[in-house]
Symmetry: C2
Subunit: 500 residues, 2 copies
């Protein structure tokens, strides 16, 4: 059986090499590729994806997997081998259930839809995007049917990003969270606003870049195993546990974009760099889920990067970089400014107190679209009425409303909730870490992040995709995903900042 397992691992390694090569092509596409390369690049990526599919669903591989899945039942269910086989089984099931015809059609559709969405957003013309979105909604409903029977039609979509998570679970969490978030926001709105005008001055782009590099180097980002480039949309991508790259963008008139964007992507990257090296070339060398991934990016961006202890250390340095902009802004004012809360139209610009509400709005609409209770045609109106309900804001146009996010044009239904779940997990982890490391604030004040990153590494990063997200959160914190720590975190933080 050991020989069979070794052969199986070799076959898995080859599939995940092809997968990594496809990711390399995508990274290049977003970071370096000249426009002329686009058409052929599409072919190349499709060919590699086709190979992953055909290798995974080949009879030979299927038979091998069947034998090993039986063998896995004899193994310690928490052993790496058992979990690897389980993970590959799930990968196989997905590839075997979803027809290649569907996949080809889906990729073709989203490729066209992306262009249509870009145009529609630029012109704020939903009608231009509507037929594409209708097709995508239809395709994602078809996708769910491959996994029938299900508890809820949205479950198979959610499962792509949050293995084994159910729609009902997310709804229960959000139902608990929503009134508390709304209440907090109301309290903040009733308080005097803080000053954040200095964030909008002109900041030299290279200096912004250099400061970010200094911070993430202290966070533990390993430049021998990664690099940072510019791209239109920041992202993190790993081709190996020893090659995890980040991108950022710089806005010379708004310093938070590059700064917190860099810290955010670094959080993702530390996760990718921290997987057990033994998982290399297997599906285990990945995050447990998008929510757990987001918990890492949010920790380094927000719980650390927007905290007072962090800035007690870094603010004097930032003032050295930008004396004319920040020389007369004291630490307290700066801290309040970067934690400024205001209901706004745009998710990606949202603060910690409002962010989750943007997500809930999207989740409700996604579920309604998938259930068929909302037609794409009625989506803009549904969007706007919820914006009024949650934020008391009316988008002046669809570009700043229903057309703002790229996700739907790419077919990413099921993705949005992971952002909010990631916020919740980050606070749960932070409470646990603070119990085990009561001097964490003092460490941050001294600019020391090694113990923090080591705690994350040993509790979260090293396990890769071995555990399901809820299982992992339970193992580390003693309970499943729970909104209470996040609300405690927000309430404490904003009570101080806004004097609630």
């Amino acid at each position: 059986m050991e020989k069979k397992l070794a052969k199986f691992k070799q076959a898995v390694a080859e599939i995940f090499d092809i997968y990594a090569a496809a990711m390399m092509l995508e990274w290049d596409q977003q970071v370096n590729m000249p426009p002329g390369g686009a058409e052929r690049r599409g072919n190349q990526i499709a060919t590699l994806q086709g190979l992953v599919h055909s290798k995974t669903t080949s009879k030979k591989f299927g038979k091998r997997l069947e034998k090993l899945s039986k063998y896995a039942e004899e193994l310690d269910p928490d052993s790496d081998d058992a979990r690897l086989i389980q993970n590959v089984q799930k990968f196989y099931d997905t590839h075997a259930k979803v027809t290649p015809e569907y996949t080809a059609k889906f990729y073709k559709t989203v490729a066209l839809a992306y262009g249509a969405w870009e145009e529609a957003r630029a012109e704020s013309n939903f009608a231009k995007f509507q037929p594409y979105l209708e097709e995508i909604v239809d395709l994602r409903r078809q996708y769910a049917e491959f996994f029938a029977p299900y508890e809820h039609v949205y479950d198979p979509l959610l499962d792509v990003y949050e293995p084994d998570m159910k729609t009902a679970e997310v709804q229960a969490i959000f139902n608990q969270l929503r009134p508390q978030q709304v209440e907090l926001l109301k309290a903040i709105a009733d308080s005097p606003q803080v000053d954040s005008s200095f964030l909008h001055l002109e900041y030299d782009e290279q200096k912004q870049w250099d400061f970010g590099v200094e911070v993430i180097t202290k966070y533990g980002y390993d430049w021998k195993r990664g690099r940072q480039d510019k791209s239109a949309h920041p992202f993190t991508i790993g081709f190996s546990v020893n090659d995890v790259r980040i991108t950022t963008r710089v806005d010379k008139n708004y310093i938070p974009t590059a700064l917190f964007g860099t810290l955010h992507e670094c959080g993702h990257a530390l996760y990718g760099m921290g997987h057990n090296p033994a998982y290399e070339r297997t599906p285990l060398a990945d995050g447990a889920s998008m929510a757990v991934h987001e918990s890492q990016s949010r920790t380094y961006e927000n719980l650390v990067g927007r905290s007072m202890p962090f800035w007690e250390h870094f603010y004097p340095r930032l003032q050295e970089f930008f004396p004319s902009q920040l020389g007369n802004v004291d630490l307290g004012t700066f801290y309040k400014g970067i934690n400024y809360v205001e209901p706004s139209l745009i998710r990606v610009e949202a603060d910690e107190a409002t962010y989750n509400l943007h997500i809930m709005l999207r989740l409700e609409l996604e579920i309604a679209l998938m259930e068929g209770s909302l037609a794409v045609n009625d989506l803009p109106a549904a969007w706007n009425s919820r914006m009024e309900e949650y934020f008391d804001l009316t988008p002046p146009n669809d570009a700043q409303g229903v057309l703002q996010d790229v996700h739907w044009s790419s077919g990413y239904f099921g993705y949005f909730p992971t952002y909010a779940l990631g916020n919740l997990i980050s606070a749960q982890l932070w409470e646990k870490l603070s119990q085990e490391m009561p001097d964490i604030d003092d460490q941050m004040r001294r600019g020391e992040f090694a113990n923090l990153t080591e705690w994350m590494r040993s509790n979260i990063h090293v396990h890769g995709k071995k555990y399901k997200p809820q299982e992992l959160v339970q193992r580390v914190t003693g309970s499943k995903i729970d909104p209470a720590p996040y609300m405690r975190y927000l309430t404490t933080k904003y009570s101080e900042i806004y004097g609630l």
Copy 2:
């Protein structure tokens, strides 16, 4: 049959997509990859190469090819389809004849040999490299045996780079060329030397880069279909006819490195960008051979880039970039300086008059190693004695002698002669072009290169790998590769510069 042909082309397209993806991984490795990524990258490239091999040699593909090869006999032998099938047949034969075990061993060996060569060169210690080179020589002799019977053991190696070219042909060309090159060099050596000291001043690196970009933009390098990066060793690589990238390196104390290196790589890139777009995703979207490729890089580097008409246009601009270094150097002095001839130890620094002799020396040694008449152990002595014979120079150590080039450590036996053949072809093409475009010098004086590049495109570039190198040269110039035009070019040029 048309259906069969379409299916065949689809299968070929997928193979060449994988091939292009592997090249992307190699480009990234040399341009961007952090050191940590190396190990896994090796796996990824090996996996993709293995896929190219298994797809090419699959029974299904073999049968398809067999039928089509018969069908091709009915086609116009000069039709694209006939040539495509022929090309794929050759690709298939090579993959089918060379065992996967050999290929795996070869790549493993050269991966280790490269490191050993780097160390050996750094320490000027041939003994450190010797066992690896012995294994590589042995492996390349084994490679030749896969293609037995052959006229000469070196033929199958040469064929990798120059399809259908025979060792005897190259030897005949070189035997004709050698005495004339030696005689010219002697005449130059007997003349007063020109001044080239100004090339060694300090030149701002960014300005060097910017000037190169200006020139190659005028050459016709299409930035929408390419990009330039820095790398330790300059190279050109194409992932599509619409994505052909170049790299360069900059030496702040020697301006020719970046300048002529950029022009050289641009010549390669124009070739790659000029292939018939209909050849995309087939083996025809490639150069006819390494020599024909080199003819393009040498044309834009030397016949154009080191010519007086070129500098009549560009020198005032270069002086604007570097007023303190070149403000007092007149055009005539500059022109002579960049065409300075001196026998030297290092091939990559060699001028146009001595370059081919470096190649002949290497070819003779390669043939002797492959024939078995020279042992690796005796190689340094053989190298040094030839250096004395050809250049009247004795390398002070092996780092500046037998260890200087990377090629042997990578197993590139058969590659060197293509450099010299490329020089010869460049002069042949130039004579033909000058006949058809008698005002080419005036065009260059006006900074106009569109007609030149269009001539190369329609005569050479567009055909890709459709024709064999000798066939292509014959089609365009009316004769096979011939050393006479190159000797005429050198004699005219240096007679003027050195007043022979």
